[in-house]
């Protein structure tokens, strides 16, 4: 393993952290409202709307079923329109976000459904509006599950980000593929993979700690 590789590895580590961090943030910001609406629109919930639920569910399912590598290329026009370019780390954030948002939406939906319907009903009986219930009951009560969902999404994005090398996104995964897999540099492959393992491990521990912090109450 040549010495030249070390700066590359360092740079790739930052790229991975940057891509995963920013796209986790955006995916959560986009996915959470989708998850909330998936719950609110569903049968016998606060804002039952069958048609709207179906539309949202179908969109989520379509995006989730498209393989990420295809999504990456398919939305290049969107990426160009948003970022101005279709190459680079910033360009990779768009497909990562688009791919992960529906994923988080489903995870959030599951977490939000765990909130006892009786608690929502109690809030309704106290004269709460739908949005008061969302802000003051649904989201706080589901917080541990929502945070766990963010962790799962971030970890998933780490492996997604490996594919962003296709559009020059860089990152550790890309490095592992290019040096380790294509050039048979086992050392680079092992080191980059090891760093990825450490990153995922740290994210999981952080997430678990947060969940534990908020869940000790229930």
């Amino acid at each position: 393993m040549s010495d030249l590789v070390w700066p590359d590895i360092l740079q790739a580590t930052w790229q991975t952290l940057y891509m995963v961090g920013v796209s986790t943030l955006f995916a959560t910001a986009l996915g959470l409202p989708m998850g909330v609406f998936l719950v609110l629109f569903s049968t016998r919930h606060l804002m039952e709307r069958r048609a709207a639920y179906q539309v949202l569910a179908v969109i989520v399912n379509i995006v989730r079923s498209v393989p990420f590598i295809i999504l990456l290329i398919a939305i290049i026009p969107l990426t160009e329109w948003i970022v101005g370019t279709s190459i680079g780390v910033n360009a990779a954030i768009v497909p990562l976000t688009v791919g992960a948002a529906p994923f988080y939406a489903r995870v959030a939906e599951t977490a939000l459904r765990e909130v006892e319907s009786g608690v929502l009903e109690a809030a309704q009986a106290m004269g709460a509006s739908v949005w008061q219930i969302v802000w003051r009951v649904l989201l706080p009560e589901a917080r541990p599950g929502l945070i766990a969902g963010v962790t799962i999404t971030a970890v998933t994005l780490v492996s997604y980000s490996a594919m962003s090398g296709v559009i020059g996104g860089g990152g550790l995964g890309d490095l592992a593929v290019r040096y380790g897999y294509e050039r048979f540099e086992t050392g680079v492959m092992l080191v980059t993979t090891a760093i990825l393992v450490v990153i995922v491990q740290c994210m999981q521990m952080l997430g678990d700690a947060l969940v534990k912090h908020y869940a000790r109450r229930s």
Binding site: E121, A123, A125, M126, R217
Partner: protein
């Protein structure tokens, strides 16, 4: 329902009592009909008006439904914050309420750290936070042990007496009704089959279902009958006479009715079983006696007892006593029909 009273809705599960209760604050929207609460027709209110109206109606539940992610204090503050009240007002009101329900020292705990009874106290404090005029209790004690049930019922009585809140209690336990309610409605398959004051309903049940529910209570018709069957063929069985069930309430409980009547009719009696107690400040007595003598002697005694305001049922001597308590014409089919029309309170009339 009258303002300031505690009204009970009782029936088996699935009878529709919770549904009826939830119609009061429109958690359940009736498919037809009107819901009048404090001079307002609830189904005609728009969304905002309904939210405002709901703040005047507190509600507690079997499973408490507290916010698990909020402290006791925050749970009680919740309805106040929903109503956009200010910080200092919220704090002082929360302290006042927690003090009132005796949970001040638990203010910063989370619901998971409390016992069932404490959780229901928090729920009651929360329900009272916006100073509602009405408190709806949906099986509020059904998840609690007997001792805790007693404490929570005492608290509900305090809510009613000290704060003047009208309370509606849904329960499947007659003991709950007997302990706290002024009036009661018995429900079956979505209909009210009998209603009236608790004392009258308890002492003079008209509908079959009411009797069944009473039979679940420890002081039951079933016990009455079992007791009777047990006594067949003993000393009593060989003496002429009739078994009478006597029910009296109010002042009659304290007057020496039995000995007066015995003297007047030169008769004798044995008390086989009996209770003298108080339901919601109304004293009542319920006795099973053997009145000795031939038909005329017994008839005279019955007349004399009824004259003194005592309700008398002649029990059959036959063994099929579980159906029991048939007897004199005052409880017959037509009477039961009448009982289905709400509010036929006085069962103290005699045939």
């Amino acid at each position: 329902m009258e303002a300031g009273e505690i009204f009970g809705l009782i029936g088996y599960s699935g009878a529709g009592k919770s549904t009826l209760l939830r119609c009061v604050n429109l958690l359940e929207r009736p498919t037809q009909g009107e819901v009048w609460v404090d001079g307002q027709e609830m189904t005609r209110l728009n969304k905002r008006e309904l939210q405002a109206a709901r703040r005047q109606i507190g509600m507690i539940f079997q499973h408490f439904h507290l916010l698990a992610s909020a402290t006791v204090a925050d749970n009680v503050a919740f309805p106040l914050r929903l109503a956009h009240q200010r910080g200092a007002d919220v704090t002082s009101r929360v302290n006042e309420l927690l003090d009132w329900v005796g949970l001040s020292e638990h203010a910063h705990k989370y619901p998971a750290q409390l016992s069932g009874g404490q959780k229901q106290r928090v729920a009651i404090a929360r329900a009272l936070a916006t100073r509602p005029k009405i408190l709806l209790c949906d099986e509020a004690t059904s998840a609690l042990d007997p001792e805790t049930t007693r404490q929570i019922l005492d608290l509900i009585l305090r809510v009613n007496r000290e704060l003047g809140v009208t309370v509606v209690v849904v329960t499947h336990e007659m003991s709950v009704v007997r302990r706290v309610c002024d009036h009661v409605a018995v429900m079956e398959a979505g209909r009210i089959v009998e209603s009236g004051s608790v004392v009258d309903t308890f002492l003079f049940p008209k509908h079959e279902l009411t009797r069944k529910l009473l039979a679940m209570d420890d002081e039951s018709e079933a016990n009455f009958s079992a007791e009777m069957a047990h006594r067949q063929g003993n000393w009593l069985g060989e003496r002429p006479g009739r078994k009478l069930r006597l029910v009296f309430r109010g002042d009659a409980v304290y007057r020496p009715i039995l000995s007066e009547v015995a003297q007047q009719t030169a008769g004798h009696y044995s008390i086989l079983k009996g209770t003298v107690d108080v339901i919601k400040d109304v004293p009542y007595g319920r006795l099973l006696v053997q009145w000795f003598g031939d038909e005329t002697t017994v008839a005279k005694a019955i007349a004399a007892l009824e004259e003194r305001g005592c309700r008398v049922d002649v029990l059959e001597d036959a063994s099929g006593l579980s159906a029991a308590v048939s007897s004199r014409p005052l409880v017959n089919a037509s009477c039961q029909q009448e009982a289905m029309n709400v509010g036929n309170g006085e069962g103290g009339d005699s045939g």
